[in-house]
Symmetry: C2
Subunit: 513 residues, 2 copies
């Protein structure tokens, strides 16, 4: 039990390329503890009633003709000129009732299916930053090569359940064909559940065709037997869905794929300043999307995110990771639970570096999400700069805090055996438990084995190079890329996928909106 010997062994181990990174096995963590309530059940109900009133009396604008037709057919009051839709509460309530409380997403690797809802938690990679960084090469606009490295990290780490894409924007690929090249990379490099951007109907259709191919199905219509892909649908607050987002909700529902309805709302900017009003409005926006989805296909999988983020009144920027954002998130989770809808959150922070701020904000976001009963945590690994940069070191630091959270959520067995009174009597006052039968048999697996966290003493740490956690994360992301193994894809499906992509590229891809 001296610190020197195991430390040396460990440091030799980490320099050997054949020693795999020690990580948790694949699996979804589960909520086990009573969940936080920031407001009372009555207050939750009052917020929801306000949301219903907003939809019924004020209404919400949809910038898509098909959406307006669907709402009209569903009984809503539609003003075709302004696109404003007033949705009666009975229509919204029916949609809430028909939306499933939990469901599975199938993956092309059958061992990587994911449950959404109930007590399940799922984590995704970061999604959407235009830039990426690592501490050696610095900050740069993302490329397809960077995109692919993030997908490889998402595939390698078991605590990441779904790929969100683009984990970084592949700026070197022309926009009309970017969805094709990036979806191809995502589906080839990972067997986990992939992501589709709802930038236009054509692009959604293209990616769904590709998804059908890698699942061995005949065309995108055949996907409707099970959810296999997901997309974030943002509102254009206050109270607006633009054309692509409305179209995305419709197409995902039509194909029975997961629409994560996520108002991106700023209290004091696109939402009222008081959090209660901001969450009420955010919930209204989310429920409008849920309603559209369920009008297209009752039972289509949806998740909501009636959350809001405050603006930093000093910089005018969204304060991702702020205490108010965490409270608003938890009220949103209470609302979703009360409605029986899966709830999404995010691992947010505003920091410009993978530093102390990035991690205290991320850790607070994660604890807020988990203690509130969140089912899907977007941007769970790699997000920096309020979403403008994907960091390779942050990705690994986040993997560590996600794994630690899983260890925290593992139940503590309390029984005659674990209460240990016989062993305590045997050891007695002043003894020690290092040598007891149970300690020797159990110690290797008794506690979480850290990925990055060090308990080395200062001298040993200095001798080993004195690397801080971010520098150690850099080393681990490099090792993870070396250890990455591409999951196999049947030869005929691979050929069909390539043929489809090359044909669509030859056709010019999808026009830019």
């Amino acid at each position: 039990m001296s610190s020197a010997t195991p430390t040396r062994r460990r440091s030799r181990g980490s320099s050997r390329r054949d020693a795999p990174i020690s990580q948790l096995d694949w699996g979804q963590p589960r909520h086990r503890h009573p969940l936080i309530k920031v407001v009372s059940d009555d207050e939750t109900a009052a917020i929801h009633q306000t949301s219903l009133k907003i939809l019924e009396e004020i209404g919400i604008v949809f910038g898509d003709d098909e959406a307006l037709r669907i709402f009209k057919a569903g009984g809503a009051l539609v003003d075709a000129d302004s696109g404003r839709v007033r949705i009666g509460r009975e229509i919204v309530s029916a949609a809430i009732d028909s939306a499933p409380a939990r469901f599975h997403l199938q993956a092309r690797n059958p061992g990587r299916a994911v449950e959404i809802g109930g007590d399940a938690i799922a984590y995704t990679t970061v999604l959407g930053p235009p830039n990426c960084s690592d501490i050696v090469r610095g900050r740069r606009p993302g490329s397809l090569a960077d995109f692919e490295d993030f997908v490889r990290l998402g595939e390698t780490f078991n605590i990441i359940h779904m790929i969100a894409g683009s984990p970084v924007e592949p700026n070197d690929i022309p926009v009309p064909i970017r969805h094709l090249r990036s979806a191809q990379s995502m589906m080839e490099l990972s067997g986990k559940v992939p992501y589709v951007f709802a930038h236009s109907r054509q692009r959604v259709w293209d990616v769904l065709e590709m998804l059908a191919i890698v699942h061995g199905l005949k065309g995108r219509e055949a996907l409707a037997d099970a959810p296999r892909i997901y997309s974030i649908l943002n509102t254009n607050s206050p109270l607006q869905y633009d054309g692509p987002m409305a179209g995305g909700v419709i197409e995902l529902a039509r194909h029975n794929q997961l629409a994560v309805i996520s108002p991106f709302s700023l209290a004091g900017a696109t939402m009222p300043l008081p959090l209660a009003g901001a969450v009420a409005m955010s919930n209204a926006e989310a429920l409008a999307g849920v309603t559209l989805s369920q009008l297209v296909r009752p039972g289509a999988p949806v998740a909501t995110a009636a959350k809001t983020i405050n603006v930093d009144m000093k910089t005018g920027a969204p304060a991702f990771g702020s205490p108010e954002a965490n409270k608003a998130l938890q009220i949103g989770a209470q609302l979703a639970r009360s409605l029986g809808l899966p709830f999404r959150a995010a691992n947010f922070n505003s920091s410009n570096a993978p530093d102390a701020q990035a991690l205290y904000e991320s850790q607070a976001s994660l604890w807020a999400a988990v203690t509130a009963g969140t089912n899907l945590v977007m941007h769970a690994a790699g997000w920096l700069e309020g979403g403008l940069c994907a960091s390779f070191e942050k990705f690994v630091l986040d993997v560590e805090i996600l794994q630690i959270m899983s260890a925290y959520l593992t139940p503590v067995p309390v029984n005659a055996e674990t209460l240990s009174i016989g062993e305590i009597a045997e050891v007695g006052p002043g003894g020690h438990f290092f040598g007891t039968e149970r300690t020797i048999a159990g110690y290797e697996k008794a506690f979480y084995a850290p990925l990055i966290s060090s308990t080395q003493n200062y001298g040993a740490w200095q001798e080993a190079g004195g690397k801080d956690a971010t520098q150690r994360a850099h080393d681990i992301y490099q090792r993870a890329l070396k250890e990455y193994r591409q999951p196999g894809l049947a030869e005929d499906r691979q050929a069909a996928l390539s043929a489809f992509v090359e044909r669509r590229i030859a056709e010019g891809g999808a026009p830019v909106d």
Copy 2:
């Protein structure tokens, strides 16, 4: 609302020495949400019954003759040769009943009294490291000058409710007089509740005499009208109290001062490997101290910390900040709540630098403590290296996460006014809330104003020097020391305090045990 202008104004502000640091007002955060339960109520009861059985059947060793006499007089079975005390469950239960569930600690600054117990949370500075560090001067053994700087920071930041001392060990002061010089510094430099080490009866008496002087009381016996100081009493696990710790429990109870009974226990080393058994034994040790306290003086203020920390089986070091430690902490908190005793936790981490690891571990420790209903968080600011180093930057980073937690715990009002339906209708789809009457009136105080966290965009941040959070924390600790104002102490009390210290130093101080 452009980001450039306020950013520039802010960066000018932070370089002006006359601009005071923006921080929260003095006040204690309060628990408001339902608290986490890691195990069921039945399991909590089973753990407690095991603790009672340990005390009754196995017993616990006290290395202090007076403690043995007190236990014998109180009805326990005492083996004078071995010092082993077997305490019947009715004796323990009576002590639990007589210990107060909540009480106040008076401070020499009347505005800095602190409530312990109930829904109150109190934070202390770091306590006990032999070394300290800052990123400019590096790591070094602590001196009285460093000690005093940490006390000044503790006095300056309102979120720190009590001074824990030594925040760093003043190694340049000879041990026999160290308690005198350091207590003098603590009591002169801060008007907040101070700390006394229970290293020997003589040293406790000396510090209590000094406490009486600064409160204008005639001798330490006069302190018994109200709690004004506190001490951590560690057990020597398994199942032992050494002489100074037992003596400390007795002297604190005798003077009606707060004894924080804190078994320092390592699962798989000084405790059984299973957390249930480790917490049961830790709780037994804590309750032995509570019982001794209450036998001396029924109603004497105590707090407990039936927690345990696992050993990192790779390094043999305590894994401060581990997920198992956080779970064990929360079970301990459940036990304390079920017994009606105030509960202490700590802001733990194992990192060797004020880096990402330090903060993700600290943030997890803090969330675990707060969601479990902890009343007193020791080492809340400044702890590094598993307690072997006090870091000036970590102190300020911790102040930030403590302030953020307070903002998180502030209630969200839900009522017709905050639900904002009128304002939402007025702004309508596609508008914005920047210019509404309420946003303009309320935005300055609506959200937490960060101490360190930055939401600057990357370009503005780079232009301002690209300092990471730890570097910004360095600047703020330097500013805080410049802004520090020593609280006044009446001339006669100051003179009496100095005279007492000089006399005791002339007498040789207190002999080393």
